[in-house]
Symmetry: C2
Subunit: 204 residues, 2 copies
């Protein structure tokens, strides 16, 4: 028999998920907000980030602003590029969730197959994926039209505009559905309650 | 004069960086570990993640394991793809740092221009970028050769292998240089001390 060293050495490896959860006071997870342009996704995303941060949880919004101009600035709007756009965002949210964060993704993400792909990525990694459907009807989004995008799309000045000239496939089994005319603060509270119920947020 | 509503409403916007730093007890930052294959990058990365986590700081390792098989699984090893590999990783570390995390990137990243690009990304965003050069000489890396990669490269079974058949451009102004034969635990302590000195880590 050869004697093995009895020195206690740290075994190289990643920090365990439970250790991370204890420090973050939350389980890492992805909150995926989907809906039409103008539905209120960004408003909900930032309201939620604000609310969670006030409670000292660790959340971060990924949206067109910080992704399309950075990581995905070499992608256009062809079908291929849209799918690659969502794939990369899905992979990044997975890394955030694995790191212990609440990744809040706010993207139209109109295709069921693209969202299913991201859900499956998380499932395989044992990470919670929470699909949040902001269910504001097209007519209402078009009535608001704060960026005048629907008007442009109707005039044909924007091609492949979701809801007008490109499909939006509503989720069939979203974990959370935000009904039309729910105030942003109420929507955020609703998501918060759900996250607590699921044990994703731990009590302080 | 028209009367403005006096309701105090929450202004939509991202959580401020200082608010994040207070909750995370640290400034978000990227620790970019570069060096030859076998230099000890991964060992340092995980040792550092372990040490920081024990102290309740929030750190996460990005490496070949969780990036090449996910976000960058559609990239090969051509010069173009290597540059795109580092670009995407750079963008992701920037998102992590912006979120308040310590992103620990462990990649050979042999080209000065690619590392400079990532540094510049962070500079523009006002986020600390800490280049850590694990300065183990080629001869020593080749002597270790734990994965038998150098042997294969010498026999021509691996093309474009950094240090053998592809250049490694050592950093000229790395924030931290890990001298050969520094024990991993000592290297991690050295980085920790530096982060404290810079105020990136706050006291508990």
């Amino acid at each position: 028999m050869t004697a093995k060293s009895s020195n206690v050495v740290w075994q190289q490896g990643r920090v365990q998920r439970e250790q991370r959860a204890a420090i973050f006071n939350q389980q890492g997870a992805t909150l995926w907000i989907t809906g039409l342009s103008g539905a209120g996704k960004s408003t909900l995303a930032f309201q939620l980030e604000h609310l969670l941060t006030q409670l000292r949880y660790k959340a971060y919004v990924l949206d067109g602003d910080n992704v399309r101009h950075g990581l995905n600035n070499n992608l256009g709007f062809s079908m291929h590029d849209r799918t690659e756009n969502i794939r990369r965002i899905g992979e990044v949210t997975k890394l955030f969730a694995d790191a212990g964060m609440l990744a809040i993704a706010s993207f139209i993400s109109p295709l069921r197959k693209d969202r299913s792909f991201v859900r499956e990525l998380h499932r395989q990694a044992g990470l919670p994926f929470v699909e949040i459907f902001v269910d504001t009807p097209l007519a209402e989004c078009e009535r608001r039209d704060s960026k005048q995008l629907y008007a442009k799309a109707r005039r044909g000045e924007i091609q492949d505009f979701t809801g007008i000239s490109s499909p939006y496939e509503a989720p069939e089994q979203a974990e959370i559905v935000i009904r039309p005319d729910t105030a942003p603060a109420a929507s955020a509270e609703l998501v918060l309650a759900w996250l607590r119920e699921q044990g994703i947020l731990r009590s302080q």
